[in-house]
Each structure stands twice: as structure tokens, then as C-alpha cells.
Amino acid sequence: MASRGKTDVRVVYAIYGALFGFMFPIIATLFDAFMRDLGFGVSSLIEAQKTQPLHWIIDSAPIFLGLFSCMAGIKQKEVIEMNENLEKKVEQRTEMLHEQNEELRVMQGELEDGLHRISQSINYAQRIQDAIVTNTQELQDAFADSAVLFRPRDVVSGDFPWYLKKGNYHFVAAVDCTGHGVPGAFMSLIGYFLLNKIVKEQNLLDTNEILCELHREVVRVLGQEADSDVHDGMDLALCRIDPKNQEVMFSGAGNPVYHMRDGDLMEYKADFWSIGGTQYRKRKPYQAQKFHYKQGDVISMFSDGITDQFSADGKDKFGYRKLKKHLASNHSDNLNGVHESFNSQMNNWMGDHRQMDDMLLMSVRL
């Protein structure tokens, strides 16, 4: 305690104790002199002391009280020192917290800065992806009543709709690349350009051959023949629409196609094998299925981000049944409206649950 100055608290306590102790012999001697009528002169007080041995005991009071007091002083000093230590520690801690706080603030700033730059970069990437991969204008020009519901999980997406006209054929595919976000978007570019190349330049027109070639090309492009660490690839449903013969040819890698007519829904299942990767040692060539359509029929394709989406409570997945029911029961409505109402159904379904994967739903009225 600074206010005590430099005087040791033990000495102060001893002096106060001794001074207090002096009161006893003084009062005792005065009282004795008064009782014995000796008067209050110095000699009479000395006389009182000399003749009464009890005084000698009382005279020791300053010594004992001084000692006791000194002991109390020692304790007091310890308490003071402890307090001082504590205060020092509190000060040190406060200072440390302050420093840590400061560091955190700097770190937060750096993180925010980094995050900002990353989001800017991803937003920019989105513009490129939008321009190339997710542009649905050509599809809409070819089929007046067609719709694409596209919900990337992050800004950029591994899902993409693909459309190409070649001769009399219209090729439509819903492609789901492994991964989402940036890695998914890389894959989507690879898929998009490979599909274009295979159909446009290599002139492969049968859907099963296109998928076989797409697989070979993905394996080649990603160097997956060797013992590669890249197992990525894509699932897709691919349709070739032939308006002249009113026929659809379908091949699927993982994802099926639905064919709606008058409220009925036909499902054409896909092959199990995903495109890309070498993990399937027993891979078989893709199969094709053909079916005829009538004007006004609808075909729909989708990615598993839709069917795999968890409900708000995380207990159930959206599944195929609700999707089929929605598509079949609204078959006569405008497809954009069908997709919009489907989107709200999905919003209600997922509530606050995070979106698990990219979502893509494509529908075309033939």
C-alpha cells in the first residue's frame, strides 16, 4: 500500500501496541497514588511503583502488547503483500487479454479481408460459369416450354444443364459433377467442353456411345489411367430428342429420366457406373433406351441434390416419390410454373436445414 510510505507495517503495529500498553502502567500508577493519597509528584509516583509489586507486572504490558501487535503487523503485512501480488497478477492478465484481443482483432481483419477476396474471386468465377455452362437460352429457344431449376449450394456449381442441337437431333442433359463449389465448377467446365466436342466434332450421336466416350475422355483428361488421386467424374442423364420420328434416346450414368404423359410417369433407369474414375474394374459399356413420345409429353431430368436433400429436422430425405408426384400431377401446367411450385415445396421441405448439394431440375415439353 503506497499510502503507508516506507515505514514497515510491522514496526507501526508494534509501536501502536506498545503505546497502547503504556496506558496500563500509567493509569495503574496514578490510580494507586490517588488511592494511597501519596500526591501526584514524580517522587510519589516512584514511591507507588516501588512499594507495589503488582505494578511491575502491569509495567510489562507495553512489551507484551507491543509484541502481540507486532505479530498482528506481520500477518497484516502478509495480507497486504498478497493483495499487492493479486493486483499485479490481475493487471498482467488484463494486459495479456488486451494483447490477445488486439491480435484477434488483427486476425479477424485478415480473415475478413481474405474471405472478401475469395468471395470476390468466386463471384467472378460465377460470371464465367454462367456465361458458358449454365446458359439455358438455346434450350429455351428450341423448346418454348422448357424450364431449368438451378440451385447451386455455393455460388458456383458442379451441376449444369447441357443442350446442343446437331442436325435433326436435340441433345439435353442434366449433369452432376462430383463435388460442389469450386472443384465442382472445374469439373463442370471439363464436362461441358467434352460433351460439346464429342457430339459436335466427333459426331457421336448415340447416347450410349456419347457416355462411353465421355468416360474415356474424362479418364484421359484427368490422367486417371495411371494410379491417380483424382477419382472425380460426373453422373448424368442424357436424352437425344428426335422430333422427326418423335423418339427419345436415353442413356444415364447414375441418374434416370422421367417421361410424363397425361398424368402418368414412366421412369427410364440409368446405368450404375459414374463417368470418370477407374474404380469400377468391372465397368460395362453404357446402354441406351428408346421411347416414343406424343406432342405435349414432358421429360424431366435432375441431380441427386434434389432427392438427397434433408428435411428441416434432418431426419428424412426428399426422395424420388415426392418429385415424381409433383411432376406427374402438374404435367399440363407451364413448366416454369411447375418448377417454381416445386422450388417452394423444396423450400418448405428443407426449412432451415442447410442445402446439402447443388440442385438441378430440367424439364422439356416435347
Binding site: G179, S274, Y280, M356
Partner: protein, 126 residues
């Protein structure tokens, strides 16, 4: 005997519990790792070593309630490792594929895998 392999579950990755003292290999939970390769590669490597000298009987219990498309590939890959045990007649393997009643996604994935894998495969509802 090979040492057991155990990887605790996280929000995005399943529990891996390959117990070589009982021969029961469990995969339980959700599989949607941001980096599927990172998660599954060490498991695959462990399995490749295991199938060299496996137990006489291995029971694989798959209880997955979600996997994304990347994880599907790796899970199929893991199951395919067990084919080596049967091909080389080193032991017996049984896959038990569990799915929640009404979860047509997990059910159909199981059925697809079972039709391709040459392994005893049982579909079971939870």
C-alpha cells in the same frame, strides 16, 4: 492379425469401426466430406493391406444415411476391396446394407451396388 481401424464420426464423415478382433466392420453415419479423397484414401489403403491376410469371416455393416456423389464412388470402391478376399478364397465376406424404412435413396443405392458386387449382400431395414 492386423490392427483395428477406428475413425470417429464428424458431422460430415461417418464412423469407421473396422474391428479385427470380432471381424465386424462398421460404417455408420453421413458421408459428405468436403474432400472425399482425403477421407477415404487412408481407409482404402488400410483395407488393401487387410484383404491380403483377412480374417476367416468379415461382416461389413453399412449404416449410412447420406452420401454425396463423390462419397458414393469411394464407398463402392471400399466394398469392392472385399471382393479380393472372396476371389482369392482367403475368407468369407458378408455385406449388410441397412436403410431406414422409406429411404428409397439409400435402398436403391444398396440394390445397385449389390447387383454389381460379387459378394453376399443383404438389405436390411433399420
Amino acid at each position: 492379425m492386423a490392427e483395428s481401424l477406428r475413425i470417429e464420426a464428424t458431422e460430415d464423415t461417418p464412423l469407421i469401426d473396422f474391428d479385427t478382433s470380432t471381424g465386424v466392420f462398421k460404417v455408420t453415419g453421413r458421408a459428405l466430406p468436403e474432400d472425399a479423397h482425403d477421407f477415404f484414401k487412408p481407409i482404402e489403403e488400410w483395407l488393401q493391406a487387410y484383404v491380403e491376410s483377412p480374417l476367416a469371416e468379415t461382416i461389413v455393416e453399412m449404416r449410412i444415411d447420406y452420401f454425396n456423389s463423390a462419397a458414393t464412388r469411394y464407398i463402392f470402391n471400399l466394398l469392392m476391396c472385399f471382393e479380393d478376399i472372396v476371389d482369392d478364397e482367403k475368407g468369407e465376406v458378408k455385406i449388410l446394407w441397412y436403410y431406414k424404412e422409406g429411404d428409397d435413396m439409400i435402398e436403391s443405392k444398396g440394390e445397385e451396388m449389390s447387383s454389381i458386387l460379387e459378394l453376399p449382400f443383404e438389405m436390411k431395414t433399420l
